[in-house]
Symmetry: C2
Subunit: 217 residues, 2 copies
């Protein structure tokens, strides 16, 4: 995935002369999805956007200290296939962009993932694949190009991550089992706490679907 | 160098509430200059911006066919040091950006170079290093991130380019000598034609200065 993040005073999306979404202070993010992208890329980029520190701390004057999340600002995230480009002389070529059939659900899942990491009402989108006018008031200007690292596509890296996650799951399970055996009279509440919040559960299900659908390509 | 090129219906730069420059249809270019950049990078990127084909041919419907130059549109080019970033966790770090002392003349030369490749009045800038609001109406949206290739910094590549240029110069000289010996009665006009147009001469002089000043860093 490739993102162009612009720090804005305001931004809006207009289709056929009608404003369909707008934000005040925050981030206008143009996001490009490539053929190789999977759940790891989505997760990496969503975290970075929500947490990247592009504002100063107004109290102590510390530079590059506050994120959109810290300040309660908004995110307008627009799908932008042209970011996955290769120049052929003076003509851009976009064969590396993910097929719209797969990139549309991927984009929607990406918005949902950012909403689950922040607040649903703070993250707005555009019209997937539509012709839009994006009004951007770039504040500074401050513009951050952010690509997901290629390490996310390295099988060894992924294997390591999986092993780490597996180890963490086992650790969790052991500590849970310990607490269960200590609190065997509180069984029902323990079972409930094993369920992740429904929002996160939904997101991780849809991430699985995206990974599957991409493998079919 | 790193550029973010946005195809726009209009764009403007505001400082302290006052619009200091604006364009209609064309390209809003945010440009980042890194410590390694020299005249080769400047030349490569200026050519790409002036000639990149981001509009369709309205007559025959051919996609990605016309450049800003083909259509007589405008360029608003703003200096943007944040493009030369490295993420340290969630905090951007800009140590790779060229020192302002050198990047300011570099940026001004870059604007002049695009003017010399197109038309002076069609290429506008911002305030170097100042706090600005950039109003961008991204049309599409169409956003193109463009980095200069690392091959431009490869000594072997540069040596090859120099040899090519040297060979071309010798060829030119030979053909000129031939035509001089044939037209020895038209001496004065031949001498004049050896001088490049003053605009190009100035640009190549300032390019030399930039290369020199960078070598001092």
């Amino acid at each position: 995935m490739k993102a162009i993040i612009q720090r804005v005073m305001q931004a809006s999306v207009t289709v056929d002369g009608e404003v369909i979404n707008s934000i005040g202070k925050g981030l206008c993010v143009l996001v490009g999805i490539t053929r190789k992208d999977k759940a790891g890329e989505m997760d990496y980029l969503a975290k970075k956007i929500v947490n990247i520190r592009l504002w100063d701390d107004e109290v102590n004057g510390k530079k590059w200290d506050k994120s959109v999340k810290d300040l309660g600002y908004e995110i307008l995230c627009i799908s932008q296939f042209t970011l996955a480009l290769e120049m052929k002389g003076n003509k851009p070529d976009f064969h590396d962009a993910m097929n719209p059939e797969y990139s549309e659900p991927f984009y929607n899942d990406f918005l949902d993932l950012m909403r689950s990491m922040y607040k649903p009402e703070k993250v707005k989108g555009g019209v997937f694949g539509g012709y839009m006018q994006i009004h951007i008031q770039n504040d500074g200007p401050i513009t951050i190009p952010l690509d997901t690292p290629s390490s996310l596509q390295d099988p060894n890296f992924l294997l390591k991550q999986e092993r780490k996650q597996e180890a963490a799951r086992k650790r969790d399970q052991r500590s849970k089992n310990n607490s269960e055996s200590k609190n065997s009279d509180k069984k029902s509440s323990t079972v409930t706490s094993q369920e992740p919040p429904s929002e996160i559960q939904e997101t991780s299900d849809s991430l699985k679907n995206v990974s599957l659908s991409q493998e079919e390509t």
